[in-house]
Amino acid sequence: MIELNRINKSFNDKQVLFDVSGKFEKGRTNLIIGSSGTGKSVLLKSMVGLVQPDSGEVYYDGRDFTHGDKRLKTDVRREIGMLFQGGALFDSKNVEQNVMFPLDMLTSMPKDEKLDRVNTCLQMVGLENVNNKMPSEISGGMKKRVGIARAIVNNSRYLYCDEPNSGLDPQTSILIDNLIKDLTDELDITTIVVTHDMNSVMEIGEFVMFLYQGKKLWEGNNQTIFDCGVKELEDFIFANNLMRTVRKNR
């Protein structure tokens, strides 16, 4: 479980996060949603330690990550897998080397064992026979899958996904969403997805936290979101024609 306790963050004089608290349970897909520029990515970066919050704490299964020493931070980070918006695959390495990278760096597994693990993870994300391809030779959707394979290869306990659907067509988006959900169930990990895609909310939103101008305005799930009673969230949900039609027909 990942717990946030009153996270605040400012850049220069502009405060971007205001007392954000919440609990993200293990074994379910937790979504952080909100419009662009509302602080989702800053919150995510605060949670993984890429940004230091001004105040507040992030707990990983009771361990205070924010105020922990370097050793604790390194230990926790080694349990984290993260899918970045653009995949963040290493350009100079092929698919196999990218996925194997955390094993090379963080374990002393024999080469054969690492290769087996890499192939298993690539199979889990539905990729086969792409081991020798370079990141520049594969599609955006495949890059995301490789990114997910890299994130889970080291038996991560926590999986973060930053806008996993950005730049993907609707069908591939759903595939990626379902893949994240399946992996969360299968591996029993704590997954946090940052998105502004309502399709993802409806597809995999077992827990949803809504941020608006740096504040948490609502939390619930994809079953309760339509009856949230929060104007800002309703404006966000029903921003497009399709969702307005859905509301009309309810």
């Binding site: 890429l50 370097k70 993260m82």
Partner: protein
């Protein structure tokens, strides 16, 4: 502070060994062509121009190669090559790290619990410190050879005189001085370029700016260090 982060929380030494070898190839071997071309022509031009300026019958011809030797060892091979090195290797380092930064590859390393500065920059600095002095030695050799070929082909100096001038009142300390300069310049170019690239923020435009800034700052640092080293060590 940046250099300090390279040594804190570093990975196992064997991790760096392979990376350093890869960087040695990229930084050293891949720079050989440009270093060879520039050095050979620089030696040739220095010979011709020195001969053109030494018109007095009281000055023996071997002075031409003596001038080429001293200019090559003291200044051209360590310093001019460092400017070329900054243009090729410095811009490459800043561009590579800048692109890694804006495409979140550096963040990916950090999230994995890897000291990204140490993992990415330390092998480059070590490789540079190993390879650049070697490049300077090769450059000096080619520069002197370029002078020999140009001098004998144009008949401004005979081979025997050129060879005599090279050995005339040779001070071995100049080689030591050149190698000391090469180590300092290699460190400056790599660390400045890595710093500029590593802390790039924004997009493609900023990566280009980081590259330019890396080369400009490296060149200035080389010239300032060149003056200081000459003042202190000669």
């Amino acid at each position: 502070m940046f250099i300090g982060t390279l040594f804190s929380r570093r990975e196992a030494l064997k991790t760096y060994a392979k990376l350093t070898v890869d960087e040695c190839i990229k930084i050293g071997y891949d720079s050989l062509f440009i270093i060879a071309i520039v050095s050979t022509f620089m030696g040739a031009v220095t010979t011709i121009q020195t001969a053109y300026n030494l018109v007095s019958p009281f000055i023996p011809d071997y002075v031409i190669s003596l001038v080429v030797r001293d200019m090559t060892i003291l200044e051209m091979s360590p310093t001019i090559m460092a400017i070329v090195f900054a243009g090729k290797v410095g811009s490459n380092i800043a561009g590579e790290l800048g692109t890694m930064r804006i495409t979140e590859q550096i963040d990916a390393l950090e999230v994995m619990g890897i000291n990204s500065a140490s993992y990415l920059v330390l092998p480059k600095i070590v490789a540079s410190l190993i390879m650049y002095p070697m490049l300077v030695v090769i450059s000096a050799f080619l520069c002197i050879m370029g002078g020999y070929i140009a001098g004998t082909l144009t008949e401004v100096i005979t081979g025997a005189e050129y060879s005599y001038g090279l050995r005339f009142e040779f001070i071995p300390y100049t080689v030591q001085f050149a190698l000391t300069k090469s180590l300092v310049f290699a460190y400056l170019v790599t660390s400045i370029s890595a710093y500029k690239g590593f802390y790039t923020s924004g997009g493609a435009l900023e990566v280009g700016q980081a590259s330019t800034s890396a080369v400009t700052n490296s060149c200035i640092a080389i010239l300032v260090a060149d003056y200081l080293l000459a003042q202190i060590l000669l």
